[in-house]
């Protein structure tokens, strides 16, 4: 079984390095095909491991080698495949394989084809390290690795200034959060003496609640950065500068879920500090509605989907915060499938429309892009949570969790968000695929994507449909490590009212969206309509002016401070000191050069001076020798000798 672990882990690395060999060359198909095939291999290995775990096999725990063994600190490169990590592995490898094959078609005409696959496979490798590691240090390595690869992939088209800016923003925001995570890891080590999950969590049972609270807070700060919770959320929307497969893989299914994974993995810690859990849940609920509100008016399809991801992440954190870890993980899994599908479909649309992002400029594409329309509609239905697709089983479960635990505010917020989610998802679908054709007038002649790309997206669609049926097996498997709380609403009547009510609410939202956006009078908004100038629209369009706030009150002062520190401190103090030392040596040399002027008179004077110096030395030493005993007593009383 260990060999499957290593195959699953290292196959993407091999693919990445292979593609990297072709980095500077023009597009070579094999540089894209081989990594994709290797990822397929990794997927197969993960499936074997899944079957092994499902069949009741033992958890696979290997220690590859020791990383650090200094003093009391022992950190190995250790990997564990237990129920939680095998779920994550499946999600990661499945979506990655699909995205890799899709990208062979998507990046077809791109000059950086080979480089793309190198980065993409490296990302998968880092993510696998993150989920398979058995200690916090390995988690952190994977954490940083995905951050780095995400930077490389967002800024893939590096000659576009907006792309590089977005990449830096993502990386820096992640870094800020990583500081919190590091502090959390330090606290874990300091208080428990180990970074291995098993031992650390066992030791935590007996710790002071205050320390545990701080640990939980700091680890969650790290999760906030990676999973783009408020206030570190601005990078996710800007990360759409990267190619669409990147958005599908990283910002839908894998990297942003790393934060949820962290919380799920540390469930034993968070179970001990329910107050922090409540805070996490509240924050999650807030982010859910916050993101959904911004998606309502946005005119960039990728951004809308990005906000949707943010919103669903909020759902996951809400579940995790309330203690329903297996529910959060389940939603993570289901969400990965339909969100990736949504992104890939958007990629098709973008390609067809030559990278046009405004849905108002599209319309009526359903006639030419039937396959994509079906897939995207399927994904949106799943996202909205309509029975019997996957979203119903995961999202509604979260709503149940909130209701059962009497957190009615959270329940209300999440319910409202569900409605908003349905609305904006179908707004996009309606604007793009239905209604009148607005694009031909602008000169676009769209065509469907390569058929192999559609076939590659098919497995995701299948999973988006049937994932709900997997819930039972999943529950059995995962509750061996996660708390197995079942959530039953008190009475059957309440349960049916809730479920049916939610479904009706969502369907109503979908109908409303369709009605509004299918109509024939939709014009491309050009800034003059009344709605566009209303305050609410403006606030939502500018993302509640939060990026503006960050720019004005954080970035600019920081830049000024950096300038001051550079000019005043670095150049005037540090450089001056170093230059001063060199200058002193220089001037000393110049001055003493006069000693060798060749002028006999000067040399005679120096000779006399030297003689005096040596005579003085002789006198001093002579006196010292004579009074040696007194000198010894003085020095010993001063504590020197």
């Amino acid at each position: 079984m260990e060999k499957y672990l290593y195959i699953a882990l290292f196959a993407p690395l091999v693919g990445s390095m292979f593609a990297a060999l072709f980095g500077a060359k023009p597009k070579t198909l094999i540089a894209g095909l081989l990594p994709s095939i290797l990822l397929l291999v990794s997927l197969v290995a993960s499936s074997i491991l899944l079957l092994h775990i499902l069949g009741g096999g033992d958890v696979v725990h290997v220690e590859m080698m020791t990383w650090m063994a200094t003093g009391d600190l022992y950190i190995p490169f250790g990997f564990v495949v237990d129920q939680v990590s095998v779920t994550m592995m499946m999600v990661v490898t499945l979506v990655s394989t699909v995205v890799h094959f899709y990208a062979i078609g998507y990046m077809d005409h791109d000059k950086g084809f080979n480089r793309f696959f190198a980065w993409l496979s490296a990302f998968v490798f880092s993510m696998l390290i993150l989920v398979m590691s058995d200690n916090f240090a390995g988690l952190f390595i994977g954490w940083e690795g995905v951050g780095l690869c995400s930077w490389g992939l967002i800024g893939f088209w590096y000659h576009k200034e907006s792309a590089t800016w977005a990449a830096n923003e993502a990386f820096i925001m992640n870094r800020i959060a990583d500081l919190g995570m590091l502090i959390g890891i330090f606290l874990v080590y300091w208080n428990t003496g180990t970074l291995q999950y098993a031992e650390a969590f066992a030791a935590m049972q007996s710790l002071d609640i205050e320390i545990l609270t701080w640990m939980g807070i700091f680890l969650f700060i790290g999760a906030m950065g990676k999973s783009a919770q408020f206030p570190l959320h601005t990078w996710l929307a800007d990360a759409m500068e990267g190619p669409t497969p990147v958005s599908a893989l990283i910002h839908a299914a894998t990297m942003v879920t790393a934060g949820v994974y962290l919380v799920v993995r540390s469930n034993e810690l968070y179970a001990l500090i329910p107050n922090i859990g409540l805070f996490i849940a509240s924050l999650g609920a807030f982010v859910a509605i916050f993101a959904a509100s911004m998606a309502l008016v946005n005119r960039d399809i990728k951004r809308v989907i990005a906000y949707s991801t943010l919103s669903q992440l909020g759902y996951m954190f809400a579940a995790a915060g309330l203690g329903a870890y297996w529910v959060a993980l389940f939603h993570l899994m289901a969400h990965a499938f339909f969100k990736a599908l949504l992104f890939l479909g958007a990629g098709n649309v973008m390609h067809a429309m030559h990278d046009e992002l405004d849905p108002f400029k599209m319309g009526g594409l359903g006639k030419t892009m039937k396959g994509t329309m079906i897939l995207m509609t399927l994904a949106s239905v799943a996202l909205a949570g309509i029975f019997p697709l996957a979203g119903f089983f995961s999202k509604d479960l979260i709503l149940e969790v909130a209701f059962v635990d009497y957190h009615f505010i959270i329940y209300g917020v999440l319910l409202l968000t569900a409605g908003l989610t349905a609305f904006y998802s179908f707004r996009i679908i309606a604007l793009i695929f239905h209604g009148e054709d607005r694009h031909t007038a602008l000169g676009h002649h769209p065509h469907e994507a390569y058929s192999f790309m559609l076939w590659v997206m098919a497995p995701l669609a299948v999973l988006a449909v049937i994932a709900g049926a997997l819930k039972g097996t999943y529950f059995e498997m995962v509750t061996t490590v996660l708390p197995a709380t079942e959530y039953h609403v008190h009475s059957a009547a309440t349960y049916w009212i809730m479920t049916i009510g939610t479904q009706l609410f969502v369907l109503l939202a979908i109908y409303f969206a369709y009605k509004k956006y299918i109509s024939k009078d939709i014009k491309i908004p050009d800034g003059t309509s009344e709605m566009e100038n209303s305050i609410g629209y403006k606030i939502l369009k500018n993302q509640y002016y939060i990026p503006y706030f960050y720019e004005e009150f954080l970035v600019k002062p920081y830049r000024e401070l950096s300038k001051v520190l550079w000019k005043q401190v670095d150049m005037k103090v540090v450089d001056a000191t170093v230059d001063g030392i060199a200058g002193i040596i220089y001037t000393t040399g110049e001055k003493t050069r006069d000693m060798q002027s060749g002028n006999l008179s000067t040399m005679l004077k120096w000779m006399v001076a030297g003689t005096i110096a040596m005579l003085s030395l002789a006198v001093v030493f002579g006196l010292a020798v004579r009074h040696q005993d007194e000198i010894n007593t003085i020095l010993s009383s001063l504590g020197v000798m």
Binding site: T611, I612, L615
Partner: protein, 191 residues
């Protein structure tokens, strides 16, 4: 009492003479003052009972060395006043005072601490010259011989440095050739 008078008199004279030597701008005055100073120093030696040394001082120093200097001065333009570049005279005077004090301190230290034993004690009854002779030719024989060689070397070097046409040895030529050479030289001078 006579000793005291003699000491102070000669001390004053010596200091005055040497002071003139170092401060005057006329080279001839300096030379004369130096010679006078040497004589007065030999007076000190006689006061101290070092007769041989005193005699040597007059013969060698005032006689030979001063004569050498006087011959040397013939080569140079002594009427010209020597221009002195004045460095900071405080530094100069200060440093020399300091050096002098230190030297004395070093010399005086063994004496003050009564740490001295006589290596070659004076033999009573013999005159100073005899005592000097006894010590010089027994215990200081090697330095004496070495000093003699050194004086020889110095003499030869003085001749070599200052002589003219040293590559030509007149004793190897007979008279006729020497006359020819003189005629050639005279022609050169006249033409």
């Amino acid at each position: 009492m006579f000793e005291a008078i003699a000491f102070y008199l000669f001390a004053f004279l010596t200091i005055a003479m040497f002071f003139i030597t170092v401060t005057t701008s006329q080279a001839l005055y300096a030379l004369t003052a130096l010679a006078a100073g040497m004589i007065f120093i030999s007076a000190f030696f006689f006061i101290l009972g070092a007769d041989f040394l005193g005699a040597i001082q007059i013969v060698v120093y005032s006689g030979a060395v001063m004569a050498l200097y006087a011959f040397g001065m013939m080569f140079f333009d002594t009427t010209r006043e020597v221009k002195e570049k004045n460095g900071n005279k405080y530094i100069v005077v200060g440093m020399s005072t300091l050096a002098a004090i230190l030297v004395v301190a070093i010399f005086a230290a063994p004496m003050v601490s009564e740490n001295i034993t006589a290596l070659y004690p004076v033999i009573e009854g013999a005159g100073n010259t005899q005592q000097v002779g006894m010590v010089l030719f027994t215990k200081y024989l090697v330095p004496f011989e070495v000093a003699a060689i050194m004086l020889l070397v110095a003499m030869i070097s003085g001749i070599v440095l200052a002589g003219k046409k040293m590559d030509l040895s007149l004793t190897l030529y007979n008279t006729a050739e020497i006359d020819d050479m003189k005629k050639d030289q005279a022609k050169k001078v006249l033409s």
